[in-house]
Symmetry: C2
Subunit: 328 residues, 2 copies
């Protein structure tokens, strides 16, 4: 991992002036994978445009879609912080860029909003610099941005947003990130009720100890989910989508949570749960049509609880963030 040494761009063949990249929303935890698992969806995604300028340094010039809530200081925004960390790692603090951030993910939604901004920024700057880093080498810089955003350099949103698919963070010391293969076509339903939960607050209410029994249950389920994905066993995936760590406490923030789980199942979902630290809920299904039906059912539950909500239906994104266009 490029943390302690510098890496220079290997080629100057394709020095770009402007790169526009998009990074997808992600679902962290995925019920049984608390703090160690996440997956990426096709849409929505945050967009970042990085443009080369004469003056050295990273300048944040525009943010849209955040309702004016994100800081414009370059060293407080995840997109620009990620770029600063990256440029330092390749010893190119002489480079100057402007950053435009177009937020499509709601802040504090639990869909990996801060992660998507950081990842889009990194994929853009890396392309601008001639791709000196591989995808996995960008990860520490995205994690550094997460530290700014929520106080912990967690990887369960940034890793799937970068790499696509289901991604396991087996360990942090040293970092061990594993893409979990599956031949199953899975569809995600994301339903974002009009509530806001801060990751920090949402972590505070977690218990710091667990019973041995709960630990064994969580281990059994995450192991089952891994085998279910690897062997394309949809029923096993469904049986494994349970969480005894975060859900029992975090679900108190979400009106109608139990009903949502039940209705999602009735509508044909393999399973459902809280996306990241919430309040967005996710469900996994085996077809687009089922995923759509599940979304309607969940939205109906929220409506009964007088909560407006937004629904996103999407295939699991297998490739992660991507460059949309660039100018030489």
């Amino acid at each position: 991992m490029p943390t302690a040494y510098c890496r220079l761009p290997t080629s100057n063949n394709c020095m770009m002036n402007r790169v526009h990249a998009i990074a997808p929303a992600t679902v962290a935890n995925v019920c049984c994978g608390f703090d160690i698992l996440g997956f990426a969806v096709d849409a929505p995604g945050d967009e970042v445009i990085v443009t080369r300028i004469e003056k050295a340094g990273v300048e944040l010039i525009k943010i849209t879609g955040d309702g004016g809530r994100l800081p414009m200081e370059a060293n407080r925004n995840t997109a620009s912080v990620a770029i600063q960390s990256y440029l330092a790692a390749i010893c190119r603090n002489d480079v100057g860029v402007t950053v435009e951030l177009h937020k499509k993910l709601s802040l504090g939604s639990g869909m990996g909003s801060s992660a998507a901004s950081a990842v889009a920024a990194l994929v853009a700057i890396n392309h601008l610099m001639g791709e000196p880093f591989t995808r996995i080498e960008l990860l520490p810089h995205a994690m550094e941005a997460e530290r700014i955003a929520c106080g912990a350099a967690h990887a369960d949103n940034v890793a799937p947003s970068l790499l696509g698919g289901f991604v396991l963070i087996r360990d942090y010391h040293p970092l061990d990130v594993v893409k979990v293969p599956t031949t199953l076509a899975l569809y995600a339903t994301l339903v974002h009720p009009q509530l806001e939960v801060k990751t920090e607050d949402s972590r505070k209410i977690l218990r710091s100890t667990l019973s041995l029994r709960d630990t064994i249950t969580q281990c059994g389920n995450v192991a089952g989910l891994m085998v279910g994905l690897s062997t394309a066993d949809a029923a096993l995936i469904g049986r494994s989508l349970k969480d005894v760590i975060a859900e029992p406490v975090r679900s108190v923030f979400i009106p109608g949570f139990e009903e949502v789980r039940e209705q999602a199942k009735n509508a044909g979902a393999l399973g459902s749960g809280i996306s990241g630290s919430g309040p967005t809920l996710f469900a996994l299904s085996t077809s687009y049509e089922i995923a759509q039906h599940v979304g309607e059912s969940i939205q109906e539950v929220f409506r009964r609880h007088l909560l407006a909500s937004e629904v996103f239906i999407s295939k699991i994104n297998q490739d992660g963030a991507r460059v949309i266009n660039y100018e030489l």
Copy 2:
């Protein structure tokens, strides 16, 4: 699962008089899979001979290899208890059999000794009765025998002994048993030092609560092991073979434990740990030669600690227990 209803043999075509079966030793826990994972080895295995007699009931007539330590009462021995449970389930309490048990696994070794006896007995009686039950349907009866042997109806030895390979017990309520596929040829080294640890004692010293951090670590490792097996990634398997639940406390029973782990790694093992509740240690390797070398290295450590030990080298058994021969 055949617990509350009766199932009659579907055919009388091949009513046998005598069946001789063997069931393999197993490694439960496999480091990160505490209470939810086990695998079977090719050898050693316990053997059971079931012979039909006129008089109804299950009669235990002979036990060899146990040094006279196992009870001869039919309702206290795992082999005969399993058969009693099975005959009740198929409503054939009118059937009479004698049972001979030839122990090849040391008692209290941590190699699934009680499980192998129960499984061999079940595979023998099921064959004798014309195979009315599938392998997985035999499982509850083997678990019933485990309840007699160690006070808990655990499945992490009986399931791999019955089914072969790596077997995940995702849940007990209801029972959800999953064979974990791998295309990797793995070899096990089992080293049994001349110590005895009772499963019951070994459970008593476990902590009843765990930190959230330890729980996440264990989940990450068991998830990594599942993906490593499924994708034939030997290095990932090696990185995942860690246990933060049982090993930190149980290893105090095993002189030289840390050294063993280190020497096994130096000798080329992917990883090593305590087999079940010990004191047998296991290691996994990618060739027979490495597994042999690992065995010698571990034995050498024990020798320095003035402990005699027995070594078994074996391929992972993919098929589980089997019938050796039968008489019509």
